[in-house]
């Protein structure tokens, strides 16, 4: 008999043995699949967001300079802009006008911004898809905002950003600079913050230091820091995510250990009979090995496939309640699948390897059972 045929015979026997304890093993496969599904979903989701953030935010301002008053961000006087412009190495510098608006009727927060290209005439706005969906408005409709002094300002929706751009624009409202000043009561000569470009990107750190030395009440934020923010926030190996996953994985391996070590009387009898009819300890270990392979491979592959469908076909529907929080407007998280073999192999080592380790000692103990003792009890 060829070696392959011998292995297939053992596999046949293992499958029959597993099917004899259908419920128990189905429960194990179900829990295992769930753990892989959860880990893979988090991994796919966070990796896609990080990748997308790095691709999209690579065009973010090279440096943003904020003014801080009593620990909070305050409006930036334009004199600061002139002082920063005088620092050697600073290329172009301009003020940004933006802020948050709470819509009391819909309970939603919007990000209001004024693009400096001046393509929006006064009285018109461009809005994100999230706002359009929430307020059920279309291009050409009017939207009212309450100004800082209680006046109502009416704006005509000139454009709605595409659903595909929702990850950067879902809650965005663009309007002219004059309208934004009127709405928030921002005086002329002040802006929200400054953005600047430097002549030599390698001098960014030095220029940031010079800005703080010249204007100690300012805080520069570089593009690298913006990019690192998303890299660290959605690093699945850190933060709250790893705590949740750690708990799930540890619970599963305790379950797997318990399942593998707590052999039932029927299983013990089965091993006893096998050894009595001439099976070697190595054959029993081989059977246990195939048992582990059947369970872990089936669960791993199914879990990965389900996670892929969950994240990229259903827009991570199960994560929605957590991600949504109190947000009224939120993107659909239609993420681009940035998956690679490294992720799959990491998942494999995180789930299959520990399972194998957790079950190896109980398997060896089962294989060394004394047939005489087992059959007598």
């Amino acid at each position: 008999m060829s070696r392959i045929e011998a292995q297939r015979n053992i596999l046949d026997f293992t499958l029959s043995s597993l099917l004899r304890r259908k419920r128990k093993n189905a429960a194990l496969v179900l829990v295992y699949t769930l753990v892989v599904f959860l880990l893979a979903s988090v991994m796919f989701f966070t990796h896609s967001i990080r990748k997308e953030a790095s691709l999209v935010l690579k065009d973010a301002p090279e440096m943003v300079v904020q003014k801080l008053v009593a620990g909070r961000q305050d409006l930036m006087p334009l004199e600061y802009l002139e002082k920063i412009r005088e620092i050697r190495g600073v290329g172009s510098i301009k003020g940004r006008l933006w802020g948050y608006y709470f819509d009391p009727f819909f309970g939603a927060n919007y990000t209001l911004m004024s693009p400096d290209d001046g393509h929006l005439p006064p009285g018109t706005i461009a809005i994100g898809e999230g706002i359009a969906k929430d307020r059920k408005v279309h291009a050409g409709d009017m939207i009212a905002f309450n100004a800082y002094n209680g006046e109502t300002m009416l704006f005509q929706v000139q454009a709605i950003f595409s659903a595909e751009s929702a990850l950067v624009s879902a809650d965005l409202v663009l309007m002219s600079g004059d309208d934004l000043r009127k709405l928030f009561g921002i005086p002329e000569g002040k802006v929200t913050d400054l953005t600047l470009k430097v002549r030599n990107p390698r001098e960014l750190g030095t220029i940031a230091q010079k800005i703080v030395q010249t204007l100690p009440d300012t805080r520069p934020i570089t593009r690298d820091e913006i990019l690192r923010t998303y890299d660290s926030i959605f690093n699945w190996r850190g933060g709250v995510l790893i705590v949740i996953l750690f708990v799930a994985v540890i619970s599963f391996f305790i379950f797997a250990w318990d399942r593998a070590s707590g052999l039932g009387a029927e299983e013990k009898k089965e091993i006893g009979i096998l050894k009595a009819i001439g099976w070697e300890t190595s054959d029993v270990i081989l059977m246990k090995f195939w048992e582990g392979v059947v369970i872990s491979f089936s669960s791993f592959l199914l879990g990965v496939l389900l996670a892929y469908a969950h994240v990229y076909f259903t827009s991570s529907i199960l994560f929605e309640p957590v991600l949504k929080g109190w947000s009224v407007i939120y993107p659909d998280f239609r993420l681009v699948p940035f998956i690679d073999a490294y992720q799959i192999s990491t998942l494999f080592f995180l789930t299959v390897l520990p399972y194998t380790v957790a079950t190896i000692v109980p398997s060896w103990r089962a294989a060394t059972i004394d047939p005489d003792l087992v059959m007598r009890t």
């Binding site: 046949d12 499958l15 699948p337």
Partner: protein, 100 residues
């Protein structure tokens, strides 16, 4: 049919689906190229700094622009009460500066 054949067939189907998953991912990445460019150009022209992931608190809407007091904005012992604050840790440039 032998049980081992059924199992091996199941594994083969799953492996094929995993292979198709990579094909699908590559196709979607290519198809989404223009949308990624659209988002990049919006970031460039409107000078955006953050992704719109959470809109409930300003420090989770624009985490990179947040100041270190934002989570305790009302009183020093006022712990973060926005759900998104528990999902999103503070950005590294704030944490490192505090550590220094």
């Amino acid at each position: 049919m032998r049980k081992s054949n059924i199992y091996l067939l199941y594994i083969a189907v799953n492996l094929t689906l995993i292979g198709l998953m990579f094909v699908h991912a590559s196709y979607v990445r290519q198809a989404n190229g223009p949308y990624l460019n659209e988002k990049s150009s919006m970031v460039r022209s409107f000078e955006l700094t953050d992704l719109c992931l959470f809109t409930d608190a300003r420090y989770t809407r624009h985490p990179s622009m947040a100041d270190r007091h934002s989570a305790f904005q009302d009183v020093p012992m006022s712990f973060d009460h926005f759900p998104s604050g528990s999902v999103m840790p503070p950005p590294p440039h704030l944490v490192n500066r505090v550590a220094h």
